[in-house]
Point group: C2
Chain length 220, copies 2
């Protein structure tokens, strides 16, 4: 009976949230789907359809109250609910994530990092400490953790996953260049940086070829 929310809709929610944050900063306190659509370069229809998956946040003849809508989408996204995050792999990328202040601002708290390298174990990164990966189970059994972030080489990532699952972790933010071996009761959000870069380079090459093709046809 419950309508399933499509992945496409979910992926747009953070962007709505961002535009609503901007509107609040500009002290705009109401907005119509039409005006928001113009700003965001999407259709008003899509905005209304998307929002109506979650309930009638607007009011006919008036539009949407910016603060209210912002708060509602924030609730959906779990903003400010203090979500506990650990980072497995305290290399450059893991450390960069631990240093990123915006996560904390939105309620995502980096509690600890783990690594095998003695050179980083014991190091303090912003507010969190780097522990030995050996102590992963010990840590997880005594601290509530919602999300495990994987920032380690793909071979190591595959090894650590069963350990995380055994400790009850059910959400993984995966930066390793691999499809994780998990069942569909486990949530995985992939950030594959090199794949993102390859898509960009694909589009560059395709554009270039298209231009050359057109030039060949019309010019000399």
């Amino acid at each position: 009976m419950k309508k399933k929310i499509s992945k496409a809709v979910i992926s747009r929610l953070p962007r709505y949230y961002r535009y609503l944050s901007d509107l609040m900063e500009e002290n705009v306190d109401r907005i119509s789907s039409n005006d928001l659509a113009k700003r965001m370069k999407v259709t008003a229809s899509q905005i209304r359809q998307d929002l109506n998956n979650f309930g009638g946040f607007g009011q006919q003849g008036y539009g949407y109250n910016v603060g209210h809508l912002h708060a509602e989408i924030g609730k959906l996204l779990g903003i400010h609910t203090h979500i506990n995050v650990v980072i497995i792999g305290a290399g450059h990328l893991g450390q960069a994530l631990a240093n990123y202040q915006n996560f904390e601002k939105r309620g995502f708290i980096i509690r600890a990092l783990f690594d095998v390298d003695p050179a980083v174990i014991g190091k303090k990164i912003r507010n969190s400490e780097v522990y030995s990966l050996k102590d992963l189970e010990k840590y997880l059994s005594s601290h509530p953790v919602d999300i495990a972030t994987l920032t380690l080489p793909k071979e190591r990532a595959a090894e650590v996953v069963p350990r995380l699952l055994a400790c009850g972790i059910r959400a993984i933010w995966n930066f390793a260049h691999i499809d994780l071996p998990v069942g569909d009761d486990v949530l995985v959000e992939n950030v594959h940086l090199s794949e993102s870069l390859m898509q960009l380079s694909y589009r560059m090459l395709a554009d270039k070829e298209e231009k050359e093709r057109l030039a060949g046809k019309t010019g000399d």
Copy 2:
């Protein structure tokens, strides 16, 4: 007359490439769309449709030659064509990207970083140097650069974009939490880390609610 390749197809190419790389390592030299589909957990139909956007890479009754297909997709993605990349913003994330060896392995070469912070200007990160952001135009006028990576706060990112465009940059890999002010002749690939994290937390909460709803209905 040229068929436009959809974004969905492009986004799957790097994953095909990855699976084909794995197959090569396993010394598998041919594979049918059916077997590949099983590994990748997609439909064989989708694989054949996707690949046929770019040409008949397979052979009836035989399947696909792994090495050949790998090479062809690699060509499409611009792997090993030496794409020159600069990184604007040499903070933790910018430095982490500069330190990431996998980009270079695929032919994406980090040529230089730029920052406003005197503490990092002049620093050497792996093979590249951090320059003053003031010298951006000077550098770009004397070095070929294909992609500019933005790893700086959103306000700074918005400021630097017109300068990049003026120097002829037409592809941006954007990590700043903002929609860049560019026309549609400029390619932008966004990596919005906090949005990715929010999607994960949305799914966590939705899952949790769904479970509670079910428990409330059946259990006590």
